[in-house]
Subunit: 442 residues, 2 copies
């Protein structure tokens, strides 16, 4: 069993770097704001390298700044079985998303050492770069490069989307903080036998059903877009509705239509970023740019939502009535134009049966009771699909993969108030270690 | 008659300070970006002070940075008759809004001097500070202080709304650029016999009806608000629509509802600024702040639109269906909150009959023909109400005031492509001078 206090200590110690907004009065009751490749991300990375080295690992960094720590096994002829996640956070994120997965993997190393446990094959711990996609707008981009799914150059040239003066690219920031490694970012240079990732659920299901562990079978599909709407700057007081090409009103209609379309398809559509020009109370904005994030369990559903949104946005820009957004609106003689850029595509993912079994058995070992078979699961846990993307999506392309979820309060994530209790974190860390050891014995 | 070439030369010379985006290939085919109290606004102010001084005026600056240049008359027992406007622009504005009014007033001084014309009473030229309200979010704020309608301290403490690092207040910027004058900003310290303002129409009517001059009888009512919507940051992939409090989707519904409400009241409602937090593709925004600008000819209509918007926004934040914005939308268990701040109120304004007559007669003098009486106007012109606010709204509270409009291409303003031809500018300057001289003789 892992040492729960030591785990919580690692979480809160590393969370001193990049502390965010408070949600309570306690010293650990703040969120996190540790954007990828920032100065505080460098501090967390330094901690990762020093700690895993001191625990007897060999550590290397690849061209995407991914950090791999390897603890030798009895035989080193096969690649390591990995546990890991990411240390970057949302601009106003919490202390558990990603961080729990990496610190629990480090706690696994400590526990193996304390108990003089020798594994058959090496065991690895990985910290993936820019999983969030919050600063550089492709989530899981660095496991994507590792998997050969994202070209290195494209990833290196990603520009920060943080407003203000941040003109950095991934490559310039990797260089600046000293984490542009020499090892090619590839499953060929850093092979994995398997990849296990512990994560908070980021949704309300486990908490609502009072289950301790989620056995994750896969991840839903999603696509990210940047939509640009162009109209005409004009005076808010002297320009009639008829003479306007209002890029913001048009974008508001599009955002609303995307929500209606997603509702109809039982999918999700969300806008998290919106910027406009020129930004003056008495000027009708002539330029708006917004993000669109479409998700659904099936790839076909994401495609269908995208297709309907493209049609609707085209119609709305042309002043036509799509999904009733123009009801009671004043008609206009002027049109806007709309342009789409696809930023990121993550098809639906199905994890590997062997790894799912290891997680399920490790959960049963810890929590006891309940049938353990392909179909059923004990009252302690639930087979589930992740709503959020994870680096495990990309590792699954080149090695057996699965994930472990633990409940989080109110199902809330990407929020400073994100919270899982020490017991919940401890449960997850125990299942993570159990799954890795079970896989090692396979 | 004024010298049209010299006028155009003044316009384009001063527009070298704060040049904006190009709309054509010619050297003067760019817009303007000369925010109030910026470095380039200082350059334009220096030009104003030097030029009017060299033309024989006494120049003083008040506590709001308003610049007053006075050319003595035969008798100086009465206050001057003023012509003026403003030299600040929108962030992506044009070369004529405000600038035409000031340069035409300076050209009037040059023409009076060239022709050794002595007026009965003094003649003044004024450059008002931050008329646009684009940087400091109250339009006409400095004529408002002069009129006793806006408290000096409130105006001095206005903060820049330009995103990024601009943390300036009006007072700090007045000090920084050396334009915090000692003279109290008040109609008592700087009295006016009358105020005439030449301006481009900023709308399409004069152009569409092929008229040379607009005789402005008044200005429509308007109010500015900042609306803040608070929801909850959450994960776009792991949070169902039901569990969201999406401040951006809610704001999109509000912006659309405000448009529908204004349409029903034959009024205008516009949003020019929108900012959100945290601003990440995969985080449902928990915080949005947007501007709302409501206008109508009658004060009662503005009040009615505001009232309906307040009710609708409250309902929309609570998840209710107002103006059909929730049709086809997924219901949510979570609510947003909404808060209003009133930033600025400008009631409907009716200019002074004496000044309106002076403008009408000066128009008739220039363009010839057409009856000149209280009711009718020749084919050359049109009696009209301004959609946009102007400093004349505030001067009208303490001295007879009227305005002169000239056509602008496509009716477009607050846009780099804003354009009035040299002949149109010349017409306006001639009518401005004619109106001032007629008033001087009254
Ligand atoms: N787990 C998580 O928050 N991942 C970020 C990628 C996503 O948007 O789903
Ligand atoms: N004329 C002009 O653009 N004034 C700015 C104030 C307003 O918003 O109407």
């Amino acid at each position: 069993k892992i040492n729960q206090d030591r785990l919580m200590n690692d979480i809160h110690t590393t969370c001193e770097w990049g502390k965010g907004e408070p949600w309570g009065d306690g010293p650990t009751e703040t969120g996190m704001s540790r954007l990828s490749l920032s100065d505080t991300d460098k501090q967390a990375r330094d901690w990762f390298a020093e700690t895993t080295t001191s625990l007897g690992c060999k550590v290397h960094t690849d061209q995407m700044g991914n950090q791999f720590a390897i603890r030798p096994g009895l035989s080193n002829d096969e690649p390591p079985t990995y546990a890991g996640s990411h240390l970057d956070t949302q601009p106003t994120g919490g202390r558990y998303d990603g961080i729990l997965g990496v610190t629990a993997a480090v706690e696994m190393l400590r526990t193996l050492n304390d108990n003089w446990i020798e594994t058959n094959y090496p065991v690895g711990v990985v910290n993936w770069t820019n999983e969030e996609g919050a600063r550089f707008p492709m989530s899981m981009v660095s496991s994507g490069v590792w998997a050969g799914s994202v070209p290195l150059e494209k990833a290196h040239n990603l520009k920060s989307v943080i407003p203000s003066n941040d003109t950095a690219t991934m490559k310039s920031e990797l260089e600046r903080i000293g984490y542009l490694g020499k090892v090619p970012a590839s499953y060929k240079s850093t092979p994995m036998a398997a990849h296990f990732e512990l994560h908070i659920e980021q949704g309300p299901i486990l908490e609502a059903e009072n289950r301790r562990v989620g056995v994750v079978q896969g991840v839903q599909a999603y696509k990210w877009f940047t939509v640009t709407v162009r109209g005409r700057d004009s005076h808010t007081g002297a320009t009639s509705f008829q003479h306007r090409a209002d890029a913001l009103l048009t974008s508001a209609k599009m955002i609303l239509a995307s929500h209606k379309i997603a509702t109809r398809h039982k999918a999700l559509a969300s806008t998290g970023i919106l910027g406009l020009k020129p930004g003056s109370t008495n000027t009708v904005p002539g330029f708006v740019k917004f993000s669109l994030d479409i998700r659904a369990p099936l790839d076909e559903t994401v495609e269908a939502v995208e297709k309907d949104c493209r049609q609707a946005f085209e119609a709305i820009a042309a002043g036509e009535n799509a999904y009733g957004v123009n009801d009671l609106c004043h008609p206009s003689d002027r049109q806007c134009s709309v342009e789409w850029v696809t930023d990121f595509v993550s098809p639906a993912t199905h994890f590997h049966d062997d790894c799912i079994s290891c997680v399920q058995q490790a959960g049963s070992d810890l929590c006891g009771g309940g049938e353990v078979n392909g179909k059923g699961i004990g009252a302690w846990g639930k087979l589930m699909t992740s709503g959020a993307g994870h680096d495990s999506v990309y590792t699954n392309k080149h090695c057996p993969t699965s994930m472990i979820f633990v409940p989080c309060r109110d199902g809330v994530s990407h929020n400073p108030a994100e919270y899982s209790s020490p017991d919940q974190c401890g449960d997850g860390a125990n299942v993570l270690m159990g799954a890795v050891l079970r896989y090692d014995r396979l």
